[in-house]
Subunit: 345 residues, 2 copies
Amino acid sequence: MMASTRSVEPDEKALSLDDVEELSKRVLSRHGLSSDHVTAISKLIVAAERDECASHGVYRLAGLVRTIISGKVNRGACPAVSTDETAIVRVDADGGFSPLAFNIGRPELVTKARRHGIAAMIINRCVHFTALWPEVEALAADGLVSLAMTPSHSWVAPAGGKKALLGTNPFAFAWPRTGDHPYVFDFATSVVARGEVELHRQRNLPIPAGWAVDPRGEPTRDATLALAGALLTFGGYKGSALSTMIELLAGPLIGDFTSAESKAFDSGAEAAPLHGELVIALCPDVFLGDSKSDYMKRAEAFFDLIETQGARLPSQRRFEARERTSRSGIAISRVQYEIIAGLLA
Amino acid sequence: MMASTRSVEPDEKALSLDDVEELSKRVLSRHGLSSDHVTAISKLIVAAERDECASHGVYRLAGLVRTIISGKVNRGACPAVSTDETAIVRVDADGGFSPLAFNIGRPELVTKARRHGIAAMIINRCVHFTALWPEVEALAADGLVSLAMTPSHSWVAPAGGKKALLGTNPFAFAWPRTGDHPYVFDFATSVVARGEVELHRQRNLPIPAGWAVDPRGEPTRDATLALAGALLTFGGYKGSALSTMIELLAGPLIGDFTSAESKAFDSGAEAAPLHGELVIALCPDVFLGDSKSDYMKRAEAFFDLIETQGARLPSQRRFEARERTSRSGIAISRVQYEIIAGLLA
């Protein structure tokens, strides 16, 4: 195991990325998840910690275990790919966690995008453990432009509404770049992640105005009332429209749950959402043919114009963390470490 | 010609929708636009006035004429469709206005979406006169779900930046509904349309905080400085990411201009942007097969949950206006009417 060289505070524990992988594997195996799923999820947890993207890191192990114990996930699910002459790849996740389903469908999506120019992958009946950026980054490594989206649980009110109906509905996009990390973004269409409100509640802090409404639909700065009420979408009615589009495209269009249906299925278990996912991949070689090299250079000139005016590309913070943690490992709080150790008891 | 039955103010002029169409056709023909383009654009102007969507109504005639006179548009352009075995339809707009190019490519896009499940239409070298909602509504009438997007001129700063680089980059989506208008949205990814800032300037009013930066990149509430500087995106860094995605997908990916390249090509003529457009169409019959009816009903249940909590679906205002104006026509200001009459001089 690689030794960590990172300096840590007294209330922190240093971990190498290998440590993170081993810890994740032990916790997930301990709770009976089959080994293919353990491997796929642990790789994502390592990728998240590597990129200092805590929301999908070891912090998630407790929720994964809760979901496994709830019986809402198929621990030994075998995702199955089916395909035909269309530009659509279908993956039935068999009620298991989503990362393995994505991995198994990916080669066929790549094949179809290269053949048809544009292709879609539908993942059905997967239990959410989906950070979308690793997926669109993987497709960028395959040379493809891609978009990905999923519903979640109904935690977010539509613009002008008062009740939770939409999910936090993440939307991700990646564009491959030669000799550089891809251009990648992945954001929730809620104004903040639900976990942010949870953190405010734990710390007894008020949330900023504009984040949420209470159960009566009135604006609130009380985190507890916000969690019982609804988050708001980012960007007012435009963000709400985008979130609604994600519900439709990655819900009914692909024969799967809306966020409200996922929440109803959960029936209070507080397990991860059961949902579908839609990935659209576009192949620059097919779109551009001989002029690909010219236009990919124009895209690079466009990125330069963003950066030279002092704006940052999304994901740069992650890529910088990646450099750093690959050398020196990470540190997590001892409290967090004890929680994870408890999952092994 | 249908008589207008609408009550009008003394400073207004009543017009039937037939009047609007005739007026548009006379103005555009007078300036030498070929008849296919005149017909296609006039239909859109009528649709916009019918829906009380003034931003693409008769108000635009002056800008269309300015663009024609500037020599930046091909008045007799013949759009050409080319296609192959992929799921991509290509329309070369031949430097003409965009509506005719869309109309000519649409049947092939529909065919490909029904065959492959998902298909893309690329429109290249078109001069902007694009309200995207009539396009995605037309595809909804064909039974397809669709997304459409275009760059424009570089008038908008990326989040964290200080200079205009992005376009106002509209994004539109439609979902077909049985026995009802489709679910449709179409919004600029800038915080407001540039025309809104122009209206504030004309009326000597300050613009709201958060709309724009001045030429030095500092926040401004001065409309003149804002027009010389840059608009901001809606929804902060998330809206900026979305706008960047539109630049890439409907720019380099389809072998066409970014908004900055369009602005450079314009070189001060203040003509409409020259750009490409990307339309992605998804066919529910192919995605859902026998379960289409079930899942389209689930989408309807989802729309009901938006409306019963008091939120409105986007475009409802337009659909209500459509009912009203189809009966009683519209009214435009006499000032506006005189401007248009001047275009016929």
